[in-house]
């Protein structure tokens, strides 16, 4: 698999490249801003890119804007956006733009190299990735009448993994549950929360996030 990395912090960028290369992923380009990244993608599109949200010139949301452009111009390129802040707003914005193939991950997550590699592979495969921290903030949000409190502990775990963008199979592997059991939990959760079953994983993430943010 080929990926590209865009981050103006050189030390971090190189460390990340090492991690990905160690996992057998080819790092085709390392650049410091969105413009260079877009040029590299146009020249030879990789399967995925990892982008820092704050880059030159304004250090605000260049990464998000680049992600939107990449998803529009190169739908086959997965985009993983790295941020230092837990902002569900940005995560949802990112997901709303396309039909999967995007992810919003905290930079801290690099402490676990497997998780970063996993996230890159998932966006490259067209999946959606939402950082567990973002999901935790949304699930843990105080509500006046909270239907989430009525879920079982196991159902809440399944709900969080769905919000992170994981498939039923991945949820089953994580929680050591059979596919049938996971399906039963998902069905129960949707019924209790009053949600309609979504046709695919990406739209399922959007539906769950929309519910959690309401």
């Amino acid at each position: 698999m080929r990926v590209m990395i865009a981050d103006d912090a050189v030390l971090f960028r190189e460390g990340l490249a090492r991690v990905l290369q160690a996992a057998g992923i080819e790092v085709a380009a390392q650049v410091g801003d969105a413009e260079q990244l877009l040029a590299q993608i146009r020249a030879d599109p990789p399967e995925a890119v990892v982008v820092d949200i704050r880059m030159p010139p304004t250090h605000t949301r260049e990464g998000l804007e680049a992600a939107t452009r990449i998803r529009a111009d190169h739908p086959q390129v997965g985009v993983l956006v790295l941020s230092q802040y837990v902002e569900p707003h940005h995560a949802v914005q990112l997901l709303q733009d396309g039909a999967g193939g995007v992810g919003y991950l905290l930079k801290d997550r690099v402490a676990d190299v497997h998780e970063v590699v996993d996230a890159v592979r998932r966006v490259a495969a067209g999946g959606s990735v939402i950082d567990p921290e973002v999901v935790a903030q949304l699930v843990g949000r105080r509500r006046t009448r909270d239907p989430i409190q009525e879920l079982t502990e196991r159902e809440r775990q399944v709900l969080a993994l769905m919000a992170e963008g994981r498939s039923n199979q991945a949820i089953g592997e994580r929680l050591f549950l059979s596919p049938k059991t996971v399906e039963a939990h998902v069905h129960s959760i949707f019924t209790r929360l009053g949600l309609h079953a979504a046709p695919d994983d990406h739209r399922r993430v959007l539906a769950v996030l929309a519910f959690l943010r309401a």
Partner: protein, 583 residues
């Protein structure tokens, strides 16, 4: 200069007296009626010289006064004919029209004392150039009887003047006079039309007399040309009318001077108007009326800023020398204000001083108000700057944390992650456990740092706007919070930041003190502004003077907004901030 003026006055007096003596000596057979001569010599000559000397003393740099004296002296010349000698008579005939030529010059340049247009210069030259030559031609060709002096002694040239073209020469010179008078009328009227308003008051009597004079003169010359000659009674009457009007001219000049010098009634009206303690605008209008100058501008002196400002404390630049005039008003030697007015008012320093003295207290009062307003404006601006500086500082600290400490810890996480991934799963469980512990500790440190940075400045606010920032605030709230309304579009950064901190502080208060179970945040556009309202269902009784709310009120006031705290005991708290978006 004073000596010269005195000498000229004495010359005029002497010439008049000599003329009078000659009239008396001529006894019963004077060449013209005694009344005519008395008016011409004494009335016109002396009154022009006297008025001219007054004008000369007032404005020595203006030639009007000198010209008036010249007119007066010229009108003493007709006395020459009374000498009843051939030389005197000839000289009289040659210079007979010189007084009117000098008078025409005066009327053409009044009141500036110099020609201001090409037309005026052309007129003055044509006027002088034709005077003596025309008289000379008349002398050669016209019957002396036709020159209204049948009993005059024979002239020096001795031609007898019986030429066949004599009548035609008379008609042409009379019509030439009519043409010159018409041109002069045009010049006088256009000067009047161009005069600035304050000058017109003083100018009016002079212009009116000049117009009547020129019309009478033109009628007389036209009748002479057409009827050649007109009946003596008609010609004599018109002569007398022209001369009487001419005598009125210096009187009109003095009347205009008195009129503009001190307009007591206008000053009186001003005093009454000032009783009403007028606003800065009304005061300026009242001064404009009293000075008859609608362009008057009053500028107050602010010693703190060493600058002049208008009633709304906008800076006022005093005009450069040579343009509009400035009268500085002082009290006990200190500058109070500046009166910027038309340069024409420089002719009337008494009026300006009287108006200034009458309005002194009111102007001083307005100056103090302007000073207070300027200080208030300065205090407001400095408060806004303090808030702005604080916000800029928050953004800077957040940025430094993000790019500095946070980035370094993230790099450290990455290094730890790489190290951990290189520990083989089969060996040394202790090393792996230590690295995991370190990674967990680092994760907590990063989480804390993240919250700290977010508390200092929420980046989402500048990146995504007030709506997403309020939603984010509600998502993190320790008590259930909902955002009922948020503006769909971006607002000025100061407004967004203030609105955000109002919501943030109100939410924190609700969580800490109010024992609330639900909070509603709404931010709505209204009348070009933004209204932020945070209501909870807690115990109420919030203290608006507590440090948190007091600080919020200051922050809101820095934007010229208002903060209301409605917190009746037991019935929840509602904090409302109205923020104007214009500034």
């Amino acid at each position: 200069m004073r000596r010269l003026r005195l000498a000229l006055a004495l010359v005029a007096l002497a010439a008049g007296l000599v003329n009078l003596a000659l009239i008396v000596r001529a006894g019963d057979a004077p060449p013209r009626s005694p009344l005519y001569l008395v008016i011409a010599i004494v009335g016109v000559s002396w009154s022009f010289v006297a008025a001219g000397l007054v004008a000369w003393r007032r404005r020595p740099e203006n030639h009007t006064g000198a010209l008036m004296v010249a007119v007066g002296l010229a009108y003493a010349l007709p006395g020459l004919r009374l000498a009843q000698t051939p030389a005197g008579y000839t000289l009289y005939l040659l210079t007979a029209t010189l007084p009117s030529a000098v008078l025409a010059h005066l009327l053409a340049v009044f009141p500036d004392g110099r020609a201001t247009s090409r037309l005026q210069r052309v007129f003055i030259v044509a006027n002088y150039a034709t005077t003596v030559p025309l008289a000379f031609v008349q002398l050669l060709l016209v019957d002396p009887a036709r020159l209204r002096c049948p009993e005059c002694p024979p002239d020096l040239l001795g031609t007898g003047g019986q030429h066949p073209y004599g009548e035609a020469v008379m008609a042409v010179s009379d019509l030439w006079d009519v043409a010159l008078a018409g041109l002069l009328l045009w010049i006088v009227v256009s000067r009047w039309r161009r005069a600035p308003t304050p000058r017109r008051r003083g100018l009016a009597p002079v212009v009116q007399v000049a117009v009547v004079l020129l019309v009478l003169f033109s009628v007389r010359q036209a009748l002479r040309a057409v009827l050649s000659p007109p009946p003596p009674w008609l010609d004599g009457a018109l002569d007398l009318a022209v001369l009487t009007t001419l005598m009125l001219w210096p009187l009109a000049f003095l009347a205009g001077l008195a009129r503009s010098r001190l307009d007591r009634s206008a000053v009186g009206d001003l005093a009454i108007e000032l009783e009403q303690a007028p606003s800065a605008d009304r005061l300026q209008q009242a001064l404009a009326r009293a000075l008859h100058d609608p362009t008057v501008q009053l500028a107050y002196w602010l010693p703190d800023q060493q600058a002049f400002v208008d009633g709304a404390t906008r800076p006022v630049e005093l005009p450069p020398a040579g343009g509009r005039s400035v009268t500085i008003l002082r009290h006990d030697g200190d500058t109070v204000a500046a009166l910027v007015h038309d340069a024409a008012l420089d002719d009337e320093p008494e009026l300006v001083q009287a108006v200034a003295a009458t309005a002194r207290l009111t102007i001083e009062n307005q100056r103090l108000q302007a000073e207070v307003r300027a200080q208030l404006k300065e205090v407001r601006a400095s408060r806004a700057r303090i808030v702005e500086f604080g916000d800029a500082e928050r953004r800077r600290v957040e940025r430094n944390l993000h790019d500095g400490a946070q980035q370094r810890l993230v790099n450290l996480s990455l290094a730890l992650g790489i190290a951990r991934s290189q520990v083989p799963a089969t060996t040394d469980g202790e090393l792996a456990a230590t690295l995991d512990e370190a990674a967990e500790e680092l994760r907590l440190a990063l989480a804390e740092l993240r919250e700290l940075a977010r508390g200092i400045y929420p980046v989402i606010l500048s990146e995504a706007g007030l709506g997403p920032a309020l939603a984010s605030l509600a998502e993190r709230s320790p008590i259930p919070a909902t955002v009922a309304a948020a503006p769909a579009h971006r607002l000025p950064a100061r407004v967004e930041e203030t609105a955000y901190y109002v919501a943030s502080e109100a939410l924190a208060n609700a969580a800490k003190h109010a024992r609330a179970t639900a909070v509603t945040i709404s931010a709505r556009r209204c009348d070009g502004g933004l209204e932020v309202e945070v209501g909870d269902d807690g115990v109420g009784g919030a203290n608006p003077d507590g440090s948190g709310l007091r600080g919020l009120a200051d922050r809101v006031a820095a934007l010229d907004g208002h903060l209301r705290v409605d917190s009746p005991t037991g019935r929840g708290t509602r904090i409302t901030a109205e923020l104007p978006c214009g500034s």
